[in-house]
């Protein structure tokens, strides 16, 4: 055929192209893996951080990086979460538990060499509480006397807030109430000091998003300093020689890789490009447990997965219906077959052994009692009960839980449930507007104390979002806040949780775990329920920090 003469051309063209590709492929070999010489830890870190300003961020990925770059007044033992000296070398507490006096280290230094003083903390706390900064997590500091009215603009003068600089190395903090978790809370980034001259070199104190957080500008007082920040590629921090305990730091540096996709993260780990991951896909867990159990970690995590019930909307305004739904949930089945990942069934709301507190109230699996309650509520065998909407934000796990729960309620109670998934922001909006029937929810503790979980459901609390209001419950939480005696305090909380389980504006489903992959080379990684990683206490086996070796 005549056309052939011309049309044959594409064949060699295509062949050449193939050769080029194969060449690139072969050329590309052997560029993987990290340099084995350096004691640098490669960490998968979830989403790209919003910023590295401890007063503006709100997420877990940021908290990892910030805890490497800054240090609060106290540090904690990564295993027990008990407070240990950090930027402050010692402290004392008044008898009523409301006045703390901290003595700062004389040798505390910022990464630029300036001394770390009490002024830095007072400045930082004033900054985060300043209304014009609009810090979303400012409420973390509301345990300080008058912090709340100052933040809400009712109080102009910061001197009236319970923070007083006695001298360069002495800081006195007065609290609203005795707050037993005050010291261990200091590892949360909202409490970190910031370096005033650096912040003000790039803008006003209350300006958001100035350039002070860029690599090269950033100044911190933590065990590491910021070297590189390449958005969506890597954030590299390296050993900070100005840190007071610099000699004890076991790592030369940490590279944080923002990786949202858990499947990608797992593959990078498998290919040896990460030492530590943020997450591991559920279905991979069983494979790892079978093949290489030494790299898979399942740690308890201070968090509860639960359903919110909209108590303003019939038939869920009836506590009997709500409790019946709660009792009809076979959490063991759910956890074993659907959720997996070592999660524990939740028969109460606050995770067990939170600062010595384990709830005595129960919402067990009791199908007979559930049917009985439903009949008492006027819906024998589910007769006459309108279909209930179960809302969840789009995710594979939430969908499977919802599908299983839908089937369970249908089987045990003959209750019809329709499922609705919404994109995250739409879902948040629906919760805010109480525009749902039942909604999947979760709470991860900010600090280790049961009150952090329970106070969400006081009347009008922004985290309530169920319409639930019980004067009795509110009074118990308020009592607990005022009480100094630890045992009596926990007793009030026990009673509060009892009400919560009986009234059932929420149905606990399971307690979270943190599942991740860890290279066996990492030394010193401790499990704790906050998922707090003390990077300055980690090391890599057979890879001493070169600087330490020189010293």
């Amino acid at each position: 055929m005549a056309i052939c003469r011309v049309q044959c051309k594409p064949v060699p063209v295509a062949a050449t192209l193939m050769m080029v590709w194969i060449g690139i492929v072969l050329f590309g070999c052997g560029t993987r893996g990290f340099d084995d010489q350096d004691a640098i830890l490669h960490v998968g870190n979830g989403a790209e951080p919003q910023d590295l300003d401890p007063h503006l961020v709100t997420g877990v990925p940021e908290s990892r990086i910030l805890s490497a770059l800054f240090e609060g007044l106290t540090d904690v033992d990564p295993r027990t979460l008990e407070p240990i000296p950090g930027a402050a070398e010692s402290w004392s507490v008044s008898d009523d538990g409301t006045v703390y006096t901290f003595t700062l280290r004389p040798d505390g230094r910022w990464s630029n060499g300036d001394p770390v003083t009490a002024h830095d903390f007072a400045y930082a706390w004033r900054r985060i509480l300043t209304p014009a900064l609009g810090a979303e997590y400012a409420y973390m500091l509301f345990c300080i006397k008058n912090a709340r009215p100052f933040h809400e603009g009712d109080l102009e003068d910061f001197d009236e807030v319970g923070v007083r600089v006695i001298d360069d190395h002495t800081l006195e903090v007065t609290l609203e109430n005795p707050t037993p978790y005050f010291l261990s809370m200091q590892i949360h980034y909202t409490w970190f000091p910031v370096h005033q001259p650096t912040i003000e070199a790039f803008g006003e104190m209350d300006h958001r998003g100035t350039r002070w957080t860029r690599a090269g500008n950033h100044v911190g007082n933590g065990p590491f300093k910021l070297d590189r920040w390449e958005p969506d590629r890597v954030i590299a921090v390296s050993h900070n020689p100005a840190y007071w305990n610099a000699a004890a730091t076991g790592l030369e540096g940490v590279w944080f890789y923002p990786i949202d996709n858990a499947l990608t993260e797992e593959l990078l780990f498998r290919q040896g490009r990460l030492h530590l991951t943020e997450n591991v896909p559920v279905d991979k867990i069983e494979v790892y447990q079978r093949d290489t159990p030494e790299v898979i970690r399942i740690d308890p995590y201070l968090g509860t997965y639960y359903f919110r019930l909209n108590v303003t909307r019939p038939p869920l305004d009836n506590p009997k219906v709500r409790r019946a739904l709660g009792l009809a949930l076979d959490r063991d089945d759910l956890v074993r077959n659907v959720v997996r990942a070592g999660r524990e069934p939740a028969f109460f709301y606050t995770p067990p052994d939170t600062a010595g507190y384990t709830s005595e109230a129960r919402m067990p699996y009791d199908p007979d009692k559930a049917r009985e309650l439903l009949a008492e509520a006027g819906y024998p065998d589910g007769q006459g009960l309108p279909p209930i909407e179960l809302l969840y934000n789009t995710s594979e796990n939430h969908r499977m839980v919802a599908e299983a729960v839908q089937a369970m309620w249908d089987e045990t109670l003959n209750v019809r449930v329709t499922l609705t998934n919404q994109e995250w922001k739409v879902y948040l909006n629906s919760m805010q507007q109480l525009d749902y029937g039942i909604a999947r929810s979760g709470w991860i503790g900010d600090f280790v104390d049961p009150i952090n979980f329970l106070e969400c459901f006081t009347t009008g609390n922004g985290n309530n979002r169920t319409g639930f209001s019980s004067p009795e419950f509110d009074a118990l939480i308020e009592e607990a806040r005022r009480t100094v005696d630890p045992e009596a305090r926990l007793e009030f909380l026990q009673e509060a949780e009892h009400i919560l389980m009986e009234e059932a504006p929420i149905i606990p489903v399971y307690f979270y775990t943190r599942t991740y992959l860890q290279s066996p080379e990492i030394e010193g990684l401790a499990a704790n329920p906050l998922g707090y990683i003390a990077f300055h206490k980690l090391g890599l086996r057979d890879r001493p920090r070169t600087l330490a070796a020189r010293e």
Partner: protein
């Protein structure tokens, strides 16, 4: 030389015989017939298959989850112990509906819009194409979120949402074809004969541009079916525990190393449908080609 008057005799009988000829030619095209038969089997199976199965798409057997294919569960079971065979069939109902309906919407708007723009030309064409440019750039994610927020979740909305974005490229393709065709002798002849422009457009121009239209249509169907999976992420479309091929495949990808059957079966179902649609499309193109009658 081509006789320009042949296919455009203003005689209605010629129109019907054209279609009859086309059908006759299609019948002789073996590949197209294979496609048609396969497609019919898949459609019928999706509709009636679930009735004849011992399982339903939402019956859970959680203690028997993630079972590999067996005599009891031909395609195995999923994470909740549901029968994958039935789920693939019911998923097909959704995907085929979306694929055909949304493509039809985009085809209708795209062809008419593109043809009118290309045929009229000038300022009208320019204006119409700039509107297309604008619509291209609107953030689809946001539009879909707004749609589901204000109109609730329904399959009809999915057709509209997808159809509304997919017609744009079709319009550009048709416009280009019509532009170049309208300079041809047979169109000039038709115009000289004083035929109304609508008749020229729909009887002569569009049939001559059918090749790219049909090919692009067969290319649109898979896009549309997969776009539906993205829309269900945004809360638009079918409600769990119902699912579509797109969502099944998406679930399957995440576990393809551990439980490959969760990816393979919905994937094969989707591919088989697309292959048969494609053979059928090629056959239709050949059959409807006004020029092929003389060859």
């Amino acid at each position: 030389m081509h006789d320009p008057t042949l296919p455009l005799t203003p005689d209605t009988d010629a129109g019907t015989s054209l279609w009859r000829d086309a059908f006759h030619r299609l019948r002789r095209n073996h590949l197209a017939m294979v496609g048609l038969v396969l497609l019919s089997i898949i459609v019928i199976l999706s509709i009636v298959g679930p009735w004849f199965s011992a399982h339903t798409f939402d019956a859970q057997d959680r203690d028997n989850r993630l079972a590999s294919p067996s005599a009891r569960h031909w395609f195995g079971t999923d994470h909740l112990g549901r029968d994958v065979f039935v789920r693939v069939l019911t998923g097909g109902r959704v995907s085929i509906q979306v694929g055909l309906a949304a493509t039809a919407v985009s085809l209708l708007i795209g062809v008419v819009y593109g043809a009118v723009a290309g045929f009229q030309g000038g300022r009208l064409d320019n204006g119409m194409m700039r509107i297309v440019d604008i619509l291209y750039t609107l953030p689809f994610t946001i539009v879909a979120i707004i749609l589901v927020t204000y109109f609730g979740r329904s399959l009809l909305l999915v057709f509209i949402a997808i159809g509304a974005v997919e017609w744009l490229t079709m319009a550009r393709i048709v416009r280009g074809q019509v532009q170049s065709l309208k300079e041809k002798e047979f169109v000039e002849a038709a115009m000289a004969m004083g035929l109304p422009w609508r008749r020229i457009l729909f009887r002569h121009l569009i049939p001559n541009a059918l090749g790219p239209i049909i090919v692009y249509t067969t290319l649109t169907i898979p896009r549309v079916m997969l776009l539906e999976a993205f829309l269900s992420y945004l809360g638009l479309g079918v409600q769990a525990p119902m699912s579509s091929w797109g969502t099944l495949i998406k679930e399957g990808v995440a576990v393809m190393e551990e439980y490959p059957w969760l990816l393979i079966f919905p994937g094969v179902a989707l591919s088989a449908t697309l292959f048969s649609l494609n053979f059928l499309g090629d056959g239709l193109r050949d059959a409807l080609d006004p020029r092929s009658s003389k060859d």
